[in-house]
């Protein structure tokens, strides 16, 4: 048991130490809880999150206002948006084929890439920078 959870933290450690990786988080879908998050969510502009559900990592907000929010808050806000995004995308997939299922989401922006592995029980998200 101890071994397994240390395994988990090792995995996260290695992932977050990879070059370019900004943040990673694991969400438990059954209890709707944030299991673990690493890295900083400074890229996450929480003020735009309310109006735009798309996780636009780049600060494309018109006013360029960056509110001061703690990392935990923006992590939570980011996770919430990810949940919504995954939910809507799996909805889309189910419309295409009711027996199909969502396996992987990769969102590329000019600056970032978000890799999401959705699972019936958990969601694994890693955000990394796209090298030019």
């Amino acid at each position: 048991m101890q071994n397994s959870s240390s395994n988990f933290s090792q995995t996260l450690e290695r992932l977050s130490s990879k070059p370019g990786v900004i943040a990673s988080l694991v969400i438990d879908r059954s209890s709707n809880a944030l299991l673990k998050s690493t890295g900083s969510f400074t890229f996450w502009n929480a003020s735009t999150s309310t109006s735009t559900p798309t996780p636009a990592g780049n600060a494309s907000s018109t006013n360029g206002i960056v509110p001061e929010t703690s990392t935990a808050d923006s992590g939570t806000s980011f996770a919430t948006t990810i949940l919504g995004y995954v939910a809507s995308t799996s909805g889309l997939v189910r419309h295409m084929d009711s027996e199909d299922d969502l396996k992987l989401l990769r969102v590329r922006t000019k600056k970032h890439e978000i890799v999401i592995v959705p699972d019936p029980k958990f969601i694994f998200v890693v955000v990394h920078e796209v090298s030019a």
Partner: protein, 706 residues
Amino acid sequence: MQQRRDEILAKKAKLAELKRQRELRSTSATRQSIGGSSDLAAPTPSRGESRAEFDKYLESILDGGGKSRPTSTGPAGAGSPAGKGSRPNSVLSAGELSNENSEPSVSQPQPQTYSISTQTLSTVPLATVYECPPSPIKEVFSYSKGVQTTEEWGTQTSGPKAFEESDEDEGETPATSTPNKRLSRRERDREEELRENIRREIEEELKATRDLLTDGPVRPVAQTAAKFPARVLTTEELNAVTSSDDFMEFVERSSKVIERALDEEYDILADYALSGQNGIEDDDDEYGNTRGKGRRRVKEIAQFYDERWSKKRMISDINFSPKFSELVLAAYTKNPSAPHEPDGLVQVWNMHLHDRPEFVFHAQSDVLAAKFSPFHPNLIIGGCYSGQVLLWDTRAKSSPVQKTPLTGSGHTHPVYSVDIVGTQNANNIISCSTDGVVCGWTVDMLAQPQELLTLTTPPPAKTEDLSPTCMAFPQTDPTYFLIGSEEGTIFPCHRYDRAGAKAGVDQRVSYRGHAAPVMSIDFHPARGPVDLGDLVLSSSLDWSVKLWKVRAPAATSTTGITGESHSVTPILDFTREDVVYDAAWSPVKPGVFSLVDGAGNLEVWDITIDTEVPLAKVAPSGRKGGRSMMSKSLNKVAWEESEGKRVATGGIDGSLTVFEVGPDLGGKESARNEEWTSVKKLIARLESTSAIVQPLNVNGIHGTAL
């Protein structure tokens, strides 16, 4: 937040400035008009005032962005000035008065238009403007009378919101309905008040945003997501979840996927039209190796090392998966400084996953040989120092799914060589230990060997003992194989009795040439127009690689008549500058082979081009933190079989390095038929020379060969 407030204040200041200017204009106009016509005076002076009102209005909407916000700024601001301002104006026009006391009805615009219609033409444009947004203004006034409810306020916002961008122009439209005001001081006071209100509102908005953040703002998504952090899990709960099998499996699976995604080097969004950086990279070597250039280039493409598992271990075997060309396995010896970790280890690396192995398999003893089963992509066989033969399954956990017993039947000495021979439906694991025992096993049952053969050195030797160091089967015949021995001789062996020869070492032929233990034997993987399956490459600690032409087992029975040992010499000798640990034919190019030596170099040769010097020679880049000189030696080399473009090598320092060779040294598309015939011709020439000249003179042969 500070920044935002500053910005808004700056904006506000600008607005106020504009307002003041407009105010000045309008008051001057008012004075003029008061002197002139009272009819006109009513609408005109009200402009500035009402504009301010409306601006503030919009301001609150803009900044609040807010519907259901309970801020009182708007209504209060709208209410009080209206009440105050109306008094001095009430005399002026009936329209204003009716406005003041109006019931919330359509009647309000009517008297206005009516009165205007009786007036001069100049006011007509004003009348037309009133018609579009009459309701918001009216409602403001009715509220100013008494009740203020947030809902009504909210409904109004939808109207003005559309004007957001052009508030200055739109500000004129409701102008006439608001009562006018003349005193600029009061005006200023009100502006102060407005500013204060706006500030308060912004603060409230920020607070609301922050509240939303913590409470989970996203409404439009599914209910489950709506209140995301349902609660914070306690430590026990967190542990329970993170240590569940489900979760572990998920992490294992998903992190692999993510790492592959991150390691993916090819950018599918690459725009080659934009920059030339992505073009051909011709990086000049930085180590001063005589590394091949251009089409003979040998380029390092990946290096695999796991801090936990590869540390202080040596690579004892390497094999590419025949089914998945991106997978390559490496077998490791024990880590002497970690007695609690399993001694033996096999890691399966993925070319697309750089930082961690795809699979890790354990053994209780150093793994000395390992190989993917060519007949089943999930199975890996291995031979151990303990003499065990192991079978791992990539679908199972890291411990072997089957293993031979330590005692009793089977091997009791280290197994340095394992292979799977046969066909898809009938194949056997063949293992060979250093005491000369060769065992055949079925994949399904490793409890005891199906066949067991003890090899002995043929008669004219001092001792009967034979200690094989390596074993190789030809492509075509699973019953016949070569054994490289510690004394340097290579013996042909039969698995079964056959005409003229008993099972075991063929007594009539031996391949003598090496003066030190033979480290590897490799049959030519003949897969071309010309059959070169009888060419064998052997490497030895005597600093040489030798090329042999072995006799077919059927032919041996005719040559050996009396059972006298017939010695065969190599047809070509490649003398190197260090001990050679391994040599392997390219799977696609008939004349190409690679070798690794004790100095840590990987060399790629092509006997059709040069038999004296390698075409390319390269050393793996040093791992940072790796040990010095002594850790450079390379133990094994392996080609990727389907494409023949990649070579993997590894040795004492435990890191597995994969190279990609240029098109002249590998790759299917470039293999031409002439190469096969030229190898054939070369062999024929070498054979005739070596038949005449004995002992063999390599230099002489080289001269004639080219």
